[in-house]
Symmetry: C2
Amino acid sequence: MTKPLYKAVKTTLLDRIRSGDLAFGDPLPNDADLAEEFGCARLTVYRAMRELADEGYVERRRRAGTRVATRASRGVQLSIARVDEEIFARNAVYRYERLLREKAVPPAAVVTAFALKAGQKALHIRCRHWADDRVFQLEDRWINLEAVPEAAERPFLHYGPNHWLLEHVPFSEVHHDISAVCADAADAEGLKVAVGHALLRLGRTTVSKAGCITVADLKHPGELFSLCSDPQPA
Amino acid sequence: MTKPLYKAVKTTLLDRIRSGDLAFGDPLPNDADLAEEFGCARLTVYRAMRELADEGYVERRRRAGTRVATRASRGVQLSIARVDEEIFARNAVYRYERLLREKAVPPAAVVTAFALKAGQKALHIRCRHWADDRVFQLEDRWINLEAVPEAAERPFLHYGPNHWLLEHVPFSEVHHDISAVCADAADAEGLKVAVGHALLRLGRTTVSKAGCITVADLKHPGELFSLCSDPQPA
DNA sequence: CCCAGTAATAAGTATATACTTAATCATTCC
DNA sequence: GGAATGATTAAGTATATACTTATTACTGGG
Protein backbone atom coordinates (compact mmCIF):
# COMPACT_ATOMS: atom_id res chain seq x y z
CA MET A 1 0.00 0.00 0.00
CA THR A 2 2.84 2.36 0.76
CA LYS A 3 4.10 4.34 -2.17
CA PRO A 4 7.34 3.13 -3.72
CA LEU A 5 10.34 5.16 -2.66
CA TYR A 6 11.31 6.21 -6.15
CA LYS A 7 7.83 7.61 -6.69
CA ALA A 8 7.98 9.54 -3.47
CA VAL A 9 11.27 11.07 -4.58
CA LYS A 10 9.75 11.82 -7.95
CA THR A 11 6.71 13.62 -6.59
CA THR A 12 8.80 15.55 -4.08
CA LEU A 13 10.97 16.84 -6.90
CA LEU A 14 7.97 17.46 -9.12
CA ASP A 15 6.32 19.50 -6.39
CA ARG A 16 9.38 21.72 -6.19
CA ILE A 17 9.14 22.26 -9.92
CA ARG A 18 5.40 22.79 -10.04
CA SER A 19 5.39 25.23 -7.16
CA GLY A 20 7.87 27.43 -8.98
CA ASP A 21 10.49 26.78 -6.27
CA LEU A 22 12.64 25.63 -9.13
CA ALA A 23 12.09 27.72 -12.24
CA PHE A 24 12.83 26.86 -15.87
CA GLY A 25 16.48 26.22 -16.45
CA ASP A 26 17.34 25.95 -12.77
CA PRO A 27 19.76 23.18 -11.93
CA LEU A 28 18.83 20.33 -9.63
CA PRO A 29 21.38 18.82 -7.25
CA ASN A 30 23.19 15.82 -8.64
CA ASP A 31 21.92 12.31 -8.11
CA ALA A 32 24.43 11.47 -5.39
CA ASP A 33 23.57 14.53 -3.29
CA LEU A 34 19.86 13.93 -3.64
CA ALA A 35 20.38 10.32 -2.62
CA GLU A 36 21.99 11.56 0.56
CA GLU A 37 19.21 14.10 1.15
CA PHE A 38 16.50 11.47 0.78
CA GLY A 39 18.54 8.84 2.54
CA CYS A 40 18.33 6.34 -0.28
CA ALA A 41 20.55 4.80 -2.94
CA ARG A 42 21.65 6.78 -5.97
CA LEU A 43 19.89 4.32 -8.28
CA THR A 44 16.59 5.16 -6.62
CA VAL A 45 17.10 8.85 -7.30
CA TYR A 46 18.28 7.95 -10.78
CA ARG A 47 15.05 6.13 -11.54
CA ALA A 48 12.93 9.02 -10.32
CA MET A 49 15.00 11.45 -12.36
CA ARG A 50 14.89 9.30 -15.46
CA GLU A 51 11.12 9.18 -15.33
CA LEU A 52 10.92 12.93 -14.86
CA ALA A 53 13.21 13.31 -17.86
CA ASP A 54 11.12 10.85 -19.92
CA GLU A 55 8.02 12.82 -19.05
CA GLY A 56 9.73 16.00 -20.14
CA TYR A 57 9.91 17.82 -16.82
CA VAL A 58 13.68 17.93 -16.65
CA GLU A 59 16.58 17.72 -19.05
CA ARG A 60 19.64 15.73 -18.17
CA ARG A 61 23.09 15.99 -19.70
CA ARG A 62 26.17 14.15 -18.69
CA ARG A 63 28.59 16.16 -16.70
CA ALA A 64 26.34 19.23 -17.01
CA GLY A 65 23.75 17.85 -14.60
CA THR A 66 19.97 18.09 -14.53
CA ARG A 67 17.92 21.20 -15.18
CA VAL A 68 14.23 22.02 -15.18
CA ALA A 69 13.12 21.72 -18.77
CA THR A 70 11.63 24.47 -20.84
CA ARG A 71 7.93 23.85 -21.18
CA ALA A 72 8.02 24.00 -24.94
CA SER A 73 9.68 20.64 -25.22
CA ARG A 74 6.78 18.73 -23.73
CA GLY A 75 4.21 16.72 -25.62
CA VAL A 76 0.65 15.67 -25.07
CA GLN A 77 -0.60 12.17 -24.81
CA LEU A 78 -3.51 11.76 -27.14
CA SER A 79 -5.34 8.53 -26.71
CA ILE A 80 -7.19 7.49 -29.79
CA ALA A 81 -9.27 4.63 -28.53
CA ARG A 82 -11.56 2.41 -30.51
CA VAL A 83 -14.77 4.16 -31.51
CA ASP A 84 -16.98 1.82 -29.55
CA GLU A 85 -14.91 2.37 -26.41
CA GLU A 86 -14.97 6.10 -27.01
CA ILE A 87 -18.72 6.06 -27.25
CA PHE A 88 -19.13 3.78 -24.28
CA ALA A 89 -16.99 6.17 -22.24
CA ARG A 90 -19.52 8.88 -23.03
CA ASN A 91 -22.31 6.77 -21.59
CA ALA A 92 -24.00 6.40 -24.93
CA VAL A 93 -25.22 3.29 -26.68
CA TYR A 94 -23.00 2.21 -29.53
CA ARG A 95 -24.40 0.95 -32.79
CA TYR A 96 -22.56 -0.06 -35.94
CA GLU A 97 -24.05 0.23 -39.40
CA ARG A 98 -22.47 -0.87 -42.65
CA LEU A 99 -23.34 1.34 -45.61
CA LEU A 100 -21.24 -0.15 -48.39
CA ARG A 101 -18.95 -3.07 -49.07
CA GLU A 102 -17.38 -3.49 -52.48
CA LYS A 103 -14.24 -4.52 -54.27
CA ALA A 104 -13.19 -1.63 -56.43
CA VAL A 105 -10.27 0.26 -57.81
CA PRO A 106 -9.38 2.83 -55.16
CA PRO A 107 -8.53 6.48 -55.76
CA ALA A 108 -5.02 7.35 -56.88
CA ALA A 109 -3.69 8.27 -53.43
CA VAL A 110 -4.69 4.88 -52.05
CA VAL A 111 -3.31 3.02 -55.08
CA THR A 112 0.02 4.66 -54.42
CA ALA A 113 -0.06 3.92 -50.69
CA PHE A 114 -0.91 0.26 -51.33
CA ALA A 115 1.52 0.03 -54.26
CA LEU A 116 -1.17 -1.58 -56.41
CA LYS A 117 -0.90 -2.36 -60.08
CA ALA A 118 -3.12 -0.47 -62.50
CA GLY A 119 -6.70 -1.68 -62.32
CA GLN A 120 -6.10 -3.82 -59.23
CA LYS A 121 -8.94 -3.77 -56.75
CA ALA A 122 -9.06 -3.30 -53.02
CA LEU A 123 -11.79 -3.71 -50.41
CA HIS A 124 -13.86 -0.61 -49.82
CA ILE A 125 -16.01 -0.21 -46.73
CA ARG A 126 -18.23 2.68 -45.78
CA CYS A 127 -19.90 2.54 -42.40
CA ARG A 128 -21.32 4.60 -39.58
CA HIS A 129 -20.77 4.53 -35.85
CA TRP A 130 -23.74 5.72 -33.83
CA ALA A 131 -23.80 7.09 -30.32
CA ASP A 132 -27.42 6.79 -29.19
CA ASP A 133 -29.42 8.36 -32.02
CA ARG A 134 -26.63 10.53 -33.39
CA VAL A 135 -23.97 9.64 -35.93
CA PHE A 136 -20.68 9.83 -34.10
CA GLN A 137 -18.36 8.89 -36.92
CA LEU A 138 -18.57 8.29 -40.64
CA GLU A 139 -15.92 5.89 -41.81
CA ASP A 140 -14.63 5.44 -45.32
CA ARG A 141 -11.97 2.77 -45.49
CA TRP A 142 -9.84 0.94 -48.04
CA ILE A 143 -8.20 -2.35 -47.16
CA ASN A 144 -5.23 -3.72 -49.07
CA LEU A 145 -6.14 -7.29 -50.01
CA GLU A 146 -2.56 -7.99 -51.07
CA ALA A 147 -1.44 -7.44 -47.47
CA VAL A 148 -4.50 -8.87 -45.72
CA PRO A 149 -6.17 -11.36 -48.09
CA GLU A 150 -8.28 -12.81 -45.25
CA ALA A 151 -10.20 -9.53 -45.13
CA ALA A 152 -11.87 -10.46 -48.43
CA GLU A 153 -13.93 -13.10 -46.60
CA ARG A 154 -15.20 -10.71 -43.98
CA PRO A 155 -18.63 -9.18 -44.43
CA PHE A 156 -18.08 -6.44 -41.82
CA LEU A 157 -21.81 -6.36 -41.41
CA HIS A 158 -22.11 -6.46 -37.64
CA TYR A 159 -18.81 -5.00 -36.53
CA GLY A 160 -16.37 -2.56 -38.04
CA PRO A 161 -13.22 -3.38 -39.98
CA ASN A 162 -11.06 -1.61 -37.43
CA HIS A 163 -12.21 -4.01 -34.75
CA TRP A 164 -11.22 -7.02 -36.83
CA LEU A 165 -7.99 -5.56 -38.15
CA LEU A 166 -6.78 -4.70 -34.66
CA GLU A 167 -6.98 -8.32 -33.68
CA HIS A 168 -5.68 -9.93 -36.85
CA VAL A 169 -2.81 -7.77 -37.97
CA PRO A 170 0.33 -7.75 -35.86
CA PHE A 171 1.63 -4.56 -34.31
CA SER A 172 2.09 -1.94 -36.91
CA GLU A 173 2.88 1.67 -37.35
CA VAL A 174 -0.09 4.01 -37.47
CA HIS A 175 -0.01 7.51 -38.92
CA HIS A 176 -2.75 9.96 -38.10
CA ASP A 177 -3.51 13.34 -39.43
CA ILE A 178 -6.19 15.67 -38.20
CA SER A 179 -7.85 18.32 -40.28
CA ALA A 180 -11.09 20.23 -40.67
CA VAL A 181 -13.26 19.91 -43.77
CA CYS A 182 -16.66 21.13 -44.86
CA ALA A 183 -19.30 18.48 -45.35
CA ASP A 184 -19.93 17.65 -49.00
CA ALA A 185 -23.21 16.11 -50.13
CA ALA A 186 -22.16 12.56 -49.23
CA ASP A 187 -20.84 13.57 -45.82
CA ALA A 188 -23.99 15.57 -45.12
CA GLU A 189 -26.16 12.61 -45.97
CA GLY A 190 -24.04 10.14 -44.01
CA LEU A 191 -23.67 12.28 -40.92
CA LYS A 192 -27.12 13.84 -41.08
CA VAL A 193 -25.80 17.39 -41.04
CA ALA A 194 -26.16 20.28 -43.46
CA VAL A 195 -23.85 20.62 -46.44
CA GLY A 196 -20.98 22.92 -45.45
CA HIS A 197 -21.08 21.92 -41.79
CA ALA A 198 -17.56 21.86 -40.30
CA LEU A 199 -16.31 18.31 -39.79
CA LEU A 200 -13.34 17.03 -37.91
CA ARG A 201 -11.48 14.63 -40.13
CA LEU A 202 -9.08 12.00 -38.84
CA GLY A 203 -7.01 10.26 -41.47
CA ARG A 204 -5.44 7.00 -40.43
CA THR A 205 -2.87 4.95 -42.34
CA THR A 206 -1.71 1.63 -40.97
CA VAL A 207 1.57 0.14 -42.13
CA SER A 208 3.05 -3.17 -41.05
CA LYS A 209 5.95 -5.26 -42.31
CA ALA A 210 3.70 -6.62 -45.06
CA GLY A 211 3.19 -3.10 -46.41
CA CYS A 212 0.37 -0.61 -46.14
CA ILE A 213 -2.61 -2.40 -44.65
CA THR A 214 -5.41 0.08 -44.68
CA VAL A 215 -6.28 3.72 -45.19
CA ALA A 216 -9.24 5.19 -43.36
CA ASP A 217 -10.98 8.49 -43.42
CA LEU A 218 -12.95 9.14 -40.25
CA LYS A 219 -15.26 12.13 -40.05
CA HIS A 220 -16.92 13.58 -36.99
CA PRO A 221 -19.61 16.24 -36.95
CA GLY A 222 -18.54 17.88 -33.70
CA GLU A 223 -15.64 17.99 -31.40
CA LEU A 224 -13.71 14.84 -31.00
CA PHE A 225 -10.77 15.07 -28.73
CA SER A 226 -10.25 16.39 -25.31
CA LEU A 227 -6.66 16.09 -24.32
CA CYS A 228 -4.77 16.80 -21.21
CA SER A 229 -1.07 17.13 -20.72
CA ASP A 230 0.61 16.75 -17.35
CA PRO A 231 -1.35 13.78 -16.16
CA GLN A 232 -0.93 13.67 -12.41
CA PRO A 233 1.78 11.11 -11.80
CA ALA A 234 0.77 8.56 -9.19
CA MET B 1 28.45 3.91 -29.74
CA THR B 2 27.32 0.39 -29.04
CA LYS B 3 23.69 0.03 -28.15
CA PRO B 4 22.90 -0.49 -24.47
CA LEU B 5 22.10 -4.06 -23.62
CA TYR B 6 18.62 -3.38 -22.26
CA LYS B 7 17.73 -1.70 -25.53
CA ALA B 8 19.01 -4.62 -27.54
CA VAL B 9 16.83 -6.92 -25.47
CA LYS B 10 13.92 -4.57 -25.95
CA THR B 11 14.18 -4.42 -29.71
CA THR B 12 14.69 -8.17 -29.97
CA LEU B 13 11.47 -8.73 -28.08
CA LEU B 14 9.71 -6.00 -30.01
CA ASP B 15 10.72 -7.59 -33.28
CA ARG B 16 9.15 -10.85 -32.20
CA ILE B 17 5.95 -8.98 -31.47
CA ARG B 18 5.95 -6.86 -34.60
CA SER B 19 6.68 -9.78 -36.88
CA GLY B 20 3.63 -11.58 -35.58
CA ASP B 21 5.82 -14.31 -34.08
CA LEU B 22 4.08 -13.48 -30.85
CA ALA B 23 0.43 -12.62 -31.41
CA PHE B 24 -1.94 -10.64 -29.20
CA GLY B 25 -2.40 -12.25 -25.84
CA ASP B 26 0.53 -14.62 -26.23
CA PRO B 27 2.63 -15.03 -23.11
CA LEU B 28 6.30 -14.11 -23.00
CA PRO B 29 8.78 -16.12 -20.96
CA ASN B 30 9.40 -14.81 -17.48
CA ASP B 31 12.17 -12.34 -16.73
CA ALA B 32 14.50 -14.90 -15.24
CA ASP B 33 14.28 -17.22 -18.24
CA LEU B 34 14.81 -14.39 -20.69
CA ALA B 35 17.80 -13.23 -18.67
CA GLU B 36 19.31 -16.66 -19.13
CA GLU B 37 18.46 -16.69 -22.83
CA PHE B 38 20.11 -13.33 -23.40
CA GLY B 39 22.92 -14.06 -20.98
CA CYS B 40 22.31 -11.00 -18.86
CA ALA B 41 20.99 -10.05 -15.44
CA ARG B 42 17.30 -10.21 -14.64
CA LEU B 43 17.23 -6.48 -13.95
CA THR B 44 18.35 -5.80 -17.50
CA VAL B 45 15.46 -7.82 -18.88
CA TYR B 46 13.19 -6.18 -16.32
CA ARG B 47 14.10 -2.75 -17.58
CA ALA B 48 13.48 -3.71 -21.20
CA MET B 49 10.15 -5.25 -20.24
CA ARG B 50 9.10 -2.30 -18.15
CA GLU B 51 9.70 0.05 -21.03
CA LEU B 52 7.74 -2.18 -23.40
CA ALA B 53 4.93 -2.19 -20.86
CA ASP B 54 5.09 1.60 -20.45
CA GLU B 55 4.90 1.98 -24.21
CA GLY B 56 1.88 -0.28 -24.29
CA TYR B 57 3.28 -3.22 -26.20
CA VAL B 58 2.93 -5.73 -23.40
CA GLU B 59 0.86 -6.14 -20.27
CA ARG B 60 2.43 -7.40 -17.10
CA ARG B 61 0.71 -8.91 -14.09
CA ARG B 62 2.34 -10.32 -11.03
CA ARG B 63 2.42 -14.04 -10.92
CA ALA B 64 0.50 -14.19 -14.20
CA GLY B 65 3.48 -13.11 -16.27
CA THR B 66 3.77 -10.91 -19.33
CA ARG B 67 1.55 -11.00 -22.40
CA VAL B 68 1.46 -9.17 -25.69
CA ALA B 69 -1.01 -6.33 -25.23
CA THR B 70 -4.13 -5.77 -27.26
CA ARG B 71 -3.51 -2.93 -29.64
CA ALA B 72 -6.52 -0.98 -28.45
CA SER B 73 -4.86 0.04 -25.24
CA ARG B 74 -2.19 2.13 -26.91
CA GLY B 75 -2.07 5.89 -27.21
CA VAL B 76 -0.52 8.38 -29.55
CA GLN B 77 2.01 11.00 -28.67
CA LEU B 78 0.84 14.31 -29.99
CA SER B 79 3.41 17.01 -29.76
CA ILE B 80 1.90 20.44 -29.66
CA ALA B 81 4.92 22.63 -30.11
CA ARG B 82 5.06 26.38 -30.00
CA VAL B 83 3.61 27.97 -33.13
CA ASP B 84 6.87 29.55 -34.15
CA GLU B 85 8.69 26.24 -33.85
CA GLU B 86 5.91 24.53 -35.75
CA ILE B 87 6.24 27.02 -38.57
CA PHE B 88 10.00 26.89 -38.55
CA ALA B 89 9.80 23.10 -38.88
CA ARG B 90 7.82 23.63 -42.08
CA ASN B 91 10.62 25.75 -43.52
CA ALA B 92 8.50 28.85 -43.54
CA VAL B 93 9.22 32.31 -42.20
CA TYR B 94 7.39 33.09 -38.99
CA ARG B 95 5.83 36.46 -38.35
CA TYR B 96 3.79 37.62 -35.38
CA GLU B 97 1.13 40.28 -35.59
CA ARG B 98 -0.91 41.70 -32.76
CA LEU B 99 -4.46 42.64 -33.71
CA LEU B 100 -5.96 43.66 -30.38
CA ARG B 101 -4.97 44.23 -26.79
CA GLU B 102 -7.52 45.37 -24.24
CA LYS B 103 -8.66 44.95 -20.69
CA ALA B 104 -12.26 43.88 -20.80
CA VAL B 105 -14.88 41.77 -19.15
CA PRO B 106 -14.54 38.34 -20.74
CA PRO B 107 -17.38 36.11 -21.91
CA ALA B 108 -19.23 34.06 -19.33
CA ALA B 109 -17.31 30.82 -19.92
CA VAL B 110 -14.01 32.57 -19.25
CA VAL B 111 -15.37 34.42 -16.20
CA THR B 112 -16.30 31.04 -14.75
CA ALA B 113 -12.95 29.47 -15.58
CA PHE B 114 -11.06 32.37 -14.01
CA ALA B 115 -13.49 32.61 -11.08
CA LEU B 116 -13.81 36.36 -11.60
CA LYS B 117 -16.19 38.65 -9.76
CA ALA B 118 -18.96 40.32 -11.77
CA GLY B 119 -17.61 43.11 -13.92
CA GLN B 120 -13.97 42.21 -13.26
CA LYS B 121 -11.72 42.59 -16.27
CA ALA B 122 -9.10 40.35 -17.79
CA LEU B 123 -6.50 40.85 -20.48
CA HIS B 124 -7.70 40.09 -23.97
CA ILE B 125 -5.29 39.52 -26.85
CA ARG B 126 -6.07 38.78 -30.45
CA CYS B 127 -3.16 38.04 -32.73
CA ARG B 128 -2.07 36.25 -35.87
CA HIS B 129 0.78 33.88 -36.58
CA TRP B 130 1.99 33.97 -40.16
CA ALA B 131 3.85 31.31 -42.08
CA ASP B 132 5.38 33.12 -45.06
CA ASP B 133 2.47 35.06 -46.58
CA ARG B 134 -0.29 32.86 -45.20
CA VAL B 135 -2.04 33.08 -41.85
CA PHE B 136 -1.16 29.92 -39.99
CA GLN B 137 -3.06 30.53 -36.81
CA LEU B 138 -5.53 33.04 -35.46
CA GLU B 139 -5.28 33.37 -31.71
CA ASP B 140 -7.90 34.74 -29.34
CA ARG B 141 -6.70 34.69 -25.76
CA TRP B 142 -7.82 35.76 -22.31
CA ILE B 143 -5.28 36.07 -19.51
CA ASN B 144 -6.29 36.02 -15.86
CA LEU B 145 -4.68 39.10 -14.28
CA GLU B 146 -5.52 37.82 -10.81
CA ALA B 147 -3.25 34.84 -11.39
CA VAL B 148 -0.62 36.58 -13.53
CA PRO B 149 -0.68 40.30 -12.67
CA GLU B 150 2.69 40.86 -14.40
CA ALA B 151 1.01 40.18 -17.72
CA ALA B 152 -0.76 43.55 -17.45
CA GLU B 153 2.56 45.30 -18.15
CA ARG B 154 3.29 43.33 -21.29
CA PRO B 155 2.40 44.88 -24.63
CA PHE B 156 2.65 41.58 -26.54
CA LEU B 157 3.39 43.65 -29.60
CA HIS B 158 6.40 41.82 -30.96
CA TYR B 159 5.93 38.36 -29.58
CA GLY B 160 2.93 36.29 -28.58
CA PRO B 161 1.54 35.84 -25.08
CA ASN B 162 2.13 32.10 -25.21
CA HIS B 163 5.83 32.68 -25.61
CA TRP B 164 5.97 34.87 -22.53
CA LEU B 165 3.63 32.76 -20.42
CA LEU B 166 5.62 29.61 -21.07
CA GLU B 167 8.66 31.20 -19.52
CA HIS B 168 7.04 33.02 -16.64
CA VAL B 169 4.46 30.65 -15.25
CA PRO B 170 5.69 27.51 -13.51
CA PHE B 171 4.72 24.07 -14.76
CA SER B 172 1.03 23.75 -15.02
CA GLU B 173 -1.67 21.49 -16.29
CA VAL B 174 -2.82 22.12 -19.83
CA HIS B 175 -6.12 20.93 -21.25
CA HIS B 176 -6.65 20.84 -24.98
CA ASP B 177 -9.67 20.17 -27.02
CA ILE B 178 -9.81 19.88 -30.75
CA SER B 179 -12.86 20.60 -32.84
CA ALA B 180 -13.92 21.77 -36.26
CA VAL B 181 -15.83 25.01 -36.78
CA CYS B 182 -17.01 27.04 -39.71
CA ALA B 183 -15.39 30.42 -40.15
CA ASP B 184 -17.61 33.28 -39.01
CA ALA B 185 -17.12 36.82 -40.32
CA ALA B 186 -14.35 37.64 -37.82
CA ASP B 187 -12.52 34.37 -38.48
CA ALA B 188 -12.81 34.86 -42.21
CA GLU B 189 -11.35 38.32 -41.97
CA GLY B 190 -8.58 37.30 -39.60
CA LEU B 191 -7.56 34.18 -41.49
CA LYS B 192 -8.24 35.55 -44.95
CA VAL B 193 -10.58 32.73 -45.92
CA ALA B 194 -14.19 32.68 -47.03
CA VAL B 195 -16.99 32.68 -44.49
CA GLY B 196 -18.03 29.09 -43.87
CA HIS B 197 -14.57 27.67 -44.53
CA ALA B 198 -13.82 24.70 -42.26
CA LEU B 199 -11.38 25.59 -39.50
CA LEU B 200 -9.52 23.41 -37.09
CA ARG B 201 -9.97 24.83 -33.63
CA LEU B 202 -7.66 24.07 -30.75
CA GLY B 203 -8.88 25.18 -27.34
CA ARG B 204 -6.24 25.45 -24.66
CA THR B 205 -6.78 26.02 -20.96
CA THR B 206 -3.81 26.40 -18.65
CA VAL B 207 -4.20 25.81 -14.95
CA SER B 208 -1.52 26.12 -12.31
CA LYS B 209 -1.56 26.17 -8.52
CA ALA B 210 -2.52 29.84 -8.64
CA GLY B 211 -5.70 28.96 -10.55
CA CYS B 212 -6.67 29.18 -14.18
CA ILE B 213 -4.02 31.22 -15.96
CA THR B 214 -5.24 31.60 -19.48
CA VAL B 215 -7.78 30.41 -22.00
CA ALA B 216 -6.89 30.43 -25.68
CA ASP B 217 -8.78 29.73 -28.83
CA LEU B 218 -6.47 28.85 -31.70
CA LYS B 219 -7.89 28.52 -35.19
CA HIS B 220 -6.20 27.08 -38.25
CA PRO B 221 -7.47 27.23 -41.80
CA GLY B 222 -6.14 23.86 -42.89
CA GLU B 223 -4.78 20.74 -41.44
CA LEU B 224 -2.73 21.07 -38.33
CA PHE B 225 -1.53 17.84 -36.90
CA SER B 226 0.21 14.89 -38.29
CA LEU B 227 0.71 12.24 -35.71
CA CYS B 228 2.42 8.94 -35.63
CA SER B 229 2.10 6.21 -33.10
CA ASP B 230 4.71 3.50 -32.66
CA PRO B 231 7.72 5.72 -32.96
CA GLN B 232 10.63 3.45 -33.80
CA PRO B 233 12.33 2.81 -30.47
CA ALA B 234 16.07 3.33 -30.69
C1' DC C 1 -17.81 -30.17 -3.50
C1' DC C 2 -16.64 -25.74 -2.35
C1' DC C 3 -14.35 -22.45 0.17
C1' DA C 4 -10.56 -20.83 3.03
C1' DG C 5 -6.03 -20.93 3.95
C1' DT C 6 -1.49 -21.44 2.24
C1' DA C 7 2.37 -22.30 -0.69
C1' DA C 8 4.57 -21.09 -4.79
C1' DT C 9 5.71 -17.85 -8.26
C1' DA C 10 6.77 -13.86 -11.00
C1' DA C 11 6.71 -9.06 -11.11
C1' DG C 12 8.30 -5.15 -8.72
C1' DT C 13 11.25 -2.47 -5.43
C1' DA C 14 15.62 -1.27 -3.14
C1' DT C 15 20.61 -1.32 -2.36
C1' DA C 16 25.60 -1.72 -3.06
C1' DT C 17 28.97 -1.76 -6.31
C1' DA C 18 31.57 -1.10 -10.41
C1' DC C 19 32.33 0.35 -14.77
C1' DT C 20 31.41 3.36 -19.16
C1' DT C 21 30.71 7.53 -21.57
C1' DA C 22 29.93 12.23 -22.54
C1' DA C 23 30.75 16.81 -21.46
C1' DT C 24 33.12 20.46 -19.28
C1' DC C 25 37.02 22.73 -17.28
C1' DA C 26 41.74 23.67 -16.74
C1' DT C 27 46.25 23.23 -18.36
C1' DT C 28 49.89 23.07 -21.54
C1' DC C 29 52.17 23.73 -25.65
C1' DC C 30 52.51 25.65 -30.20
C1' DG D 1 45.72 33.73 -28.13
C1' DG D 2 43.92 29.40 -29.47
C1' DA D 3 43.89 24.67 -30.32
C1' DA D 4 45.09 20.06 -28.59
C1' DT D 5 45.32 17.35 -24.16
C1' DG D 6 44.08 15.44 -20.17
C1' DA D 7 41.56 15.44 -15.68
C1' DT D 8 37.24 15.51 -13.54
C1' DT D 9 32.58 15.03 -12.97
C1' DA D 10 27.93 13.40 -13.38
C1' DA D 11 24.86 10.76 -15.92
C1' DG D 12 24.09 6.27 -17.66
C1' DT D 13 24.63 1.13 -17.87
C1' DA D 14 25.20 -3.50 -15.87
C1' DT D 15 25.23 -7.01 -12.23
C1' DA D 16 24.43 -9.51 -7.89
C1' DT D 17 21.52 -9.78 -4.20
C1' DA D 18 17.63 -9.55 -1.24
C1' DC D 19 13.26 -8.51 -0.03
C1' DT D 20 8.06 -7.30 -0.98
C1' DT D 21 3.66 -8.00 -2.92
C1' DA D 22 0.01 -9.48 -5.82
C1' DT D 23 -1.94 -13.37 -7.79
C1' DT D 24 -2.52 -17.92 -9.07
C1' DA D 25 -2.78 -22.74 -7.96
C1' DC D 26 -3.03 -26.20 -4.78
C1' DT D 27 -4.75 -28.50 -0.80
C1' DG D 28 -7.11 -29.83 3.26
C1' DG D 29 -11.20 -29.23 6.22
C1' DG D 30 -16.03 -28.39 6.65
